[in-house]
């Protein structure tokens, strides 16, 4: 079972990122669950959501304690949240950032999802959409296939720019 924890801020679409990723994995023919940790979140507050992907049905409902991958959709949450908590040794960190971040013992990747969204003028109520471009990054890392990533985005959003930003993130992220 591959377990992913997504850190974001309320209103940034972290929950939707989890749902998109689960849907894409599901379209790859795998079992997947996406599970937001809901509190009384408000816009701007740090939030987490979870994705589990497996070849067998998933019976675990509790929160992910030791993820294989951590996704940080807003680098500023790292100021207050230990995003590496429980991350498996050798695990993966993906950060929405223009610059690389070093985490000894972990594989770290960065991609400017915000910049990609802004280039397409893709924003809701002034907040750049980073979850659909994130799916491109997830595809680049082989978590889901490119085709399923695009299909998942199209199932949830009608605006084709969402696919375009995912493609852009796929191209931009260096692995």
């Amino acid at each position: 079972m591959y377990e992913i924890r997504i850190h974001s801020r309320g209103g940034q679409g972290g929950v939707t990122a989890a749902r998109l990723l689960a849907l894409a994995a599901f379209r790859d023919g795998k079992y997947a669950t996406a599970c937001p940790f809901y509190g009384a979140e408000r816009r701007g507050a740090p939030v987490v959501s979870f994705v589990r992907i497996d070849d067998l049905p998933i019976k675990v409902y509790s929160q992910i304690r030791s993820p294989d991958m951590v996704v940080v959709l807003d680098a500023s949450v790292m100021d207050t949240v230990d995003v590496l908590q429980g991350l498996k040794p050798g695990g993966t960190v993906v950060i929405n950032s223009e610059k690389p971040h070093e985490f000894p013992g972990f594989a770290s990747y960065n991609v400017d999802l915000t910049g990609i969204a802004l280039a397409e003028n893709l924003a809701i109520a002034g907040t750049p959409i980073v979850n659909t471009p994130f799916l491109g990054a997830a595809a680049k890392l082989g978590i889901v296939s490119v085709d399923s990533a695009k299909q998942a985005i199209r199932e949830m959003f009608s605006d084709e720019r969402n696919v375009k930003v995912a493609e852009a993130a796929y191209e931009e992220m260096v692995i």
Partner: protein, 368 residues
């Protein structure tokens, strides 16, 4: 069709398939997504229903009662305080013998405010005359909602059915969902005592003790008959759609020496705990209680039983444990866990089994 959906969306999708003529509901976290989705179906004309956005849960159930009395299929959804606010009408719906279907997204009760999963809300309605089923997966939320309409409306039952799913841990999780075309699985709605202006009668008037008693007995008789109807419905569902359900979901119970009994999503997590324990050589099994009313016959004789209650009856004990003791005479280790959305992992459940003390009660994370 195979898709991925939250528990809430699955319930709404089942409602769309069952086509109630009236849906009256009031939003409450974490149920809101169900009625938002139904409102969307109505707006996009995917569902032809009279959607009544009422001003309270008391009115939601009252409106369903009025509509059901007029002879149509009705649905509502609620949670927690909403369920408690409609409590009077929950009794009334069963007493009036109206086959209303309601989804209840299980959530704790304030104060303090807490929006996460707990079963005390539903168990506090156990004496209302409603049938109550608890589900463990998104798929089951969908399937149970479909079956609820058929069971409720069966002439041998004619009682309302409450489909319970855990707040957030099931209502908001995304899992795979296979939707079906029900065809004639749910027969056309027909209520023999629907309002008829050509045959005027007084519905539920003042009734003396002798007759009142007789009508109460008829509720009990019907809810006993419901066992047969549930079984037939679940068998027919399996024949048509390939998914089999029963009064409990048993996992590796055949040769189990210790059985974990639980309700809702904890029951799925318990299956993982059983796998862990089996690897350690413990002959463990999991029994997830699906139907709570009518309460099923449980075969627990000669086994050690660990009951996890995500609820509590103050001054008494866990509701499920108390029910099992009363119905089976079997003692158990009663773990109170998961209240207010407390995290309970399969490792925790395995530990409950390893450290079991039959006859005792333990509040997980609170009492040692």
């Amino acid at each position: 069709m195979l898709t991925i959906a939250t528990g809430n969306k699955a319930v709404a999708a089942a409602v769309k398939e069952a086509k109630p003529a009236v849906v009256a509901a009031y939003p409450i976290t974490p149920q809101t997504e169900i009625i938002e989705q139904i409102a969307n179906y109505v707006a996009t004309k995917e569902l032809d229903t009279e959607y009544i956005p009422v001003e309270s849960e008391h009115s939601a159930m009252a409106a369903c009662i009025g509509a059901a009395a007029a002879g149509v299929r009705t649905f509502t959804a609620t949670s927690s305080h909403g369920l408690l606010y409609m409590h009077e009408m929950v009794h009334w719906a069963a007493g009036a013998r109206l086959p209303i279907v309601m989804a209840n997204v299980n959530r704790s009760l304030g104060p303090g405010w807490n929006i996460w999963a707990e079963h005390t809300d539903a168990f506090s309605q156990r004496d209302t005359g409603w049938l109550q089923v608890f589900v463990g997966t998104v798929q089951e939320a969908y399937d149970a909602t479909l079956m609820a309409f058929r069971i409720a409306e069966d002439e041998r039952v004619v009682l309302p059915v409450m489909v319970n799913l855990d707040g957030f841990s099931l209502s908001h999780i995304m899992q795979s969902l296979e939707t079906v075309e029900i065809g004639d699985f749910i027969p056309p709605h027909h209520l023999t005592h629907a309002l008829d202006v050509n045959n005027p009668m007084g519905y539920g008037p003042m009734t003396g003790p002798k007759d009142y008693f007789r009508f109460r007995w008829d509720i009990e008789r019907s809810i006993r008959d419901a066992r047969t109807v549930i079984q037939e419905t679940e068998e027919e569902f399996a024949r048509r759609f390939g998914r089999k359900y029963g009064p409990t979901e048993d996992y590796r119970c055949e040769d189990a020496e210790v059985v974990v009994v639980s309700v809702g999503t904890l029951g799925k997590e318990a299956e993982v705990a059983v796998d862990v324990l089996r690897k350690e050589g413990v002959k463990a099994g999991s029994m997830r209680l699906r139907w709570f009313r009518p309460f099923p016959d449980l075969d627990l004789k000669g086994r050690e039983v660990v009951v996890i209650d995500r609820d509590y009856s103050f001054g008494f004990g866990g509701v499920v444990a108390a029910s099992i003791r009363a119905k089976t005479g079997v003692e158990c280790y009663n773990v109170i866990a998961g209240l207010g959305g407390q995290e309970v992992t399969y490792d925790d459940i395995a530990e409950f089994v390893r450290t079991r003390r039959i006859g005792e009660e333990m509040w997980f994370g609170v009492s040692e």
